[in-house]
Symmetry: D2
């Protein structure tokens, strides 16, 4: 039996994901705030919905993959929002990165309509989305995960079932914090070394054969030394995720001193109108007058 | 022609280093603030000096490997200090981690006596020191490095020549900052995840197959989740090195916001009388009443 | 002509404010989430509304004074919310402390119904509310302020017209940040002095005749040294306001490093279940095991 | 009986202090690293010493008032240092701001020569020094304080005896931390307000009638809004004192998160070659490209 797919959000991650499902032969109905971005997908076989609700109506499984919590809220609960269009028995999968509390709110609203909900934020970037090598950090019922697994298999190489609703988003935020602090650590180390008159390459040479080496640093280090920040993960979104992590931690009364310090650094760089470059551009904090 | 070695400092790193030279057949004269710690080395063939000066007097190459800047100053310039004992034509190698400015001061004082100086702080820990697998971060003249290379070859597997005096210490401090922030990142991520009710293992499972994975985290993560902090690198010394890095950066006017935040976290844990455990114990910041 | 007053929110500040209007002879219709808290006001002459909408319906001027943004949203736009009850030509005055963006949203929603809006967060605490000595930090039209001035005159001693909608909340958040950092500064200074073995009183003696003396420190210092934290302004609310300030700053790309560090300190204390005490209890950050 | 005064350090504070003693009729022998700065004092009746030791030799009371710990160490223990010149029975008063540990080291070295020691760092700035309205924060024996009180009475309006050696410096560092955080609080508040498009004056108007008002803010606020940073207390010295406070706290294991964050802000501004302006120039942290 054919599985009808609805898809909301055609950004840097969402669009290549949707394309893979179109290419796999699924009927896919897409909605995007800027419809023009859907043009090539339509030519490739997707159907365009005029509203989130229209994308949801025929869907057995509806994916949402948008940039931040307000975008999720608008897509689900705004005018002609998707939530009102979902049929009982369908599944809603949110691949956006949002607060765990919002994930739980989505789950509750879905349940009230007889819809199963799964949060499934992803890591792997545009590259992973294009190659179908994303990793899904899943929160929700195991049975729901099983239902959508055939679809996820077209999109990613791995899914971690991390617990009930909220757990997937919590781990996603924690992972992004960790990435941000690793990159911040490298940025501060580079600032110290180059500010002392030692070439950046000397540090990177030592790093490469050290216990501190991490793939994320292998990728970001050349961006930071060449100041070429073509976005793999935009600074704007990393900054948003640090904010979500801090908001969560502050609700729980868990101090995150270094994350808080790092976020202000990202904020300063964001303020200098560089928010769409890669988050490795946090290095620009040290390019001062 | 036999090379006479002088050795000052028989701590967690210095002692296994000195032992390897004794075992390699070099005549080694050692001095340690607490002479009792030299007992087994003496049995194995080393000679005990009563003062740093006595250890320096016969040395073609004098190594110092002590815990902090005051200990270096005391050993070199205190009563019966080593500097006054060094012969023209000999080499002084300091494997302690200290401020670049102190390294330059050592170099100048040595030069005034016709002594060549090399800073060569190490990474690799006790384990690396025992196996002869240390990495040396060297600042000074290439020719001096060449002179001592046969000795270093017994002690380590690699040496990076990073520039003139000061460069080795600068890179060493930068690397330790980076380790500290990677571990801090993991600690804050674990605090958030477990404080949210998600098991720590879920985060570690995701980390293991992520771009954020680093050998130092593979080693520290189990210590942090089991709260077993047998020291590989004592928190006290990491805390000291963060202080040296911040002092250097503040002299240069280079802000290091996350490093500064992390240092205060280490400080809080140090204050709770846990300074001799591994620096992974920064995790204890989140074990609060 | 009689002015009918609606009042939403009977907390530590709102209730004494409402009481002063009842005592001044205004017909006041009140609503509170916990109706029991209205009992004495009803005996004194106020009328109880069953919903926010009912409190709004008869009002020429409706005041809201609740604890945080979600409470404002619930009161205005939740089930039977006040916004739907407001008559064209009436005035809505929000004395809650919320984000400037929410204030602008309130203004827009009010305008759509022909209702004038004023944000008027207050300083002065319970004591000021009881004595009618509050200070209002007003954003909105001068003409609207003029309309409600006779009411404000019963409640406060001063009102600052700070600019258009949003300006009042912005200045309120900035003032609370400043208070928080002054108190944080005193807390850190006390921690250093007492941790060094010098009695706290020695610092306070010097402070009292110094350029650093501020009324807020005169009030908080004895609370901090006696560890008696009877709430004048609850830590929970200060913590919330620091979060709002940081959220605003991060949207604008303005780094606030010390505020961010202070917020994590408040967060740690809040996590230790002390959120209803006065914010001077940030001092408890340094009472560690 | 005439009291012979020795004076070391003719900076922004030291010189007007020395002048007041000359004017009061004391025989004063001065030494300064840059002798040219003594020229006018010599014309007014002071005697110039060629070395610190020479300034100390005739002194019944020797004052030192230099900019930082290395300057104190050089003056006391460097070539022809003052310590070696002091006579038994004389008094050494150090009005520099240094670490408590250094104060205790000074006390011990003085005691070994039969010299009494008092630390007496000052607040009040150049203006207070000229008018004889300084405040002394004293550590040491009460009897020593009594001996030098007639001299202090020419220099200041008040002296606090804060405890044994070290206590005066500890309280001085704590007070400077508090000033720095009050000014940082105002700077961050101004950055938020003006970054939001609200004029700085609106915040200052509210501040002026608030519980947060402090004399130090009355003085710094106009400097910060006009960006006119004529130095009353140079940023370089405040930055140094924050470093001393953090060093002390880190030795004790007392976390100072907001002070640490503030220090990095000062560091960034210092790095922009603005270290000789007033510390209110920390405001320049927010003047970014």
């Amino acid at each position: 039996m054919t599985v009808n797919v609805g898809w909301i959000g055609l950004g840097l991650i969402g669009k290549p994901m949707a394309r893979r499902l179109v290419q796999a032969g699924y009927p896919v109905t897409v909605w995007n705030r800027t419809p023009a971005k859907a043009a090539d997908l339509i030519r490739e076989g997707a159907r365009l919905a005029a509203t989130p609700r229209e994308a949801a109506a025929p869907a057995d499984v509806l994916f949402t993959c948008v940039s931040d919590p307000p975008a999720v809220e608008a897509a689900l609960w705004g005018d002609d929002g998707a939530m009102a269009g979902l049929r009982a028995g369908s599944v809603l999968v949110d691949s956006s990165t949002v607060a765990p509390a919002l994930a739980r709110r989505e789950a509750a609203a879905a349940a009230a309509r007889g819809v199963e909900f799964l949060e499934a934020p992803v890591t792997g970037g545009t590259w992973g989305a294009e190659k179908g090598e994303l990793v899904f950090l899943v929160g929700g019922e195991a049975a729901t995960l099983e239902r959508v697994q055939p679809l996820l298999a077209h999109l990613g190489k791995k899914w971690f079932h991390l617990g009930p609703h909220g757990a997937g988003q919590t781990v996603k935020l924690a992972m992004n914090m960790l990435y941000a602090l690793e990159v911040q650590g490298l940025a501060e180390a580079l600032a110290l070394v180059t500010g002392s008159g030692v070439p950046a390459d000397k540090l990177l040479e030592v790093l490469a054969s050290s216990m501190g080496r991490a793939p994320v640093l292998d990728i970001k280090a050349p961006m930071m030394t060449s100041r070429n920040f073509a976005p793999s993960f935009p600074l704007r979104l990393m900054h948003k995720d640090l904010g979500l992590a801090l908001e969560l931690a502050n609700q729980l009364g868990i101090p995150l001193p270094a994350t808080a310090a790092a976020r202000e650094t990202y904020s300063a760089v964001k303020g200098a109108a560089q928010e769409d470059v890669d988050y490795a551009a946090v290095m620009n904090f040290w390019r001062r007058p």
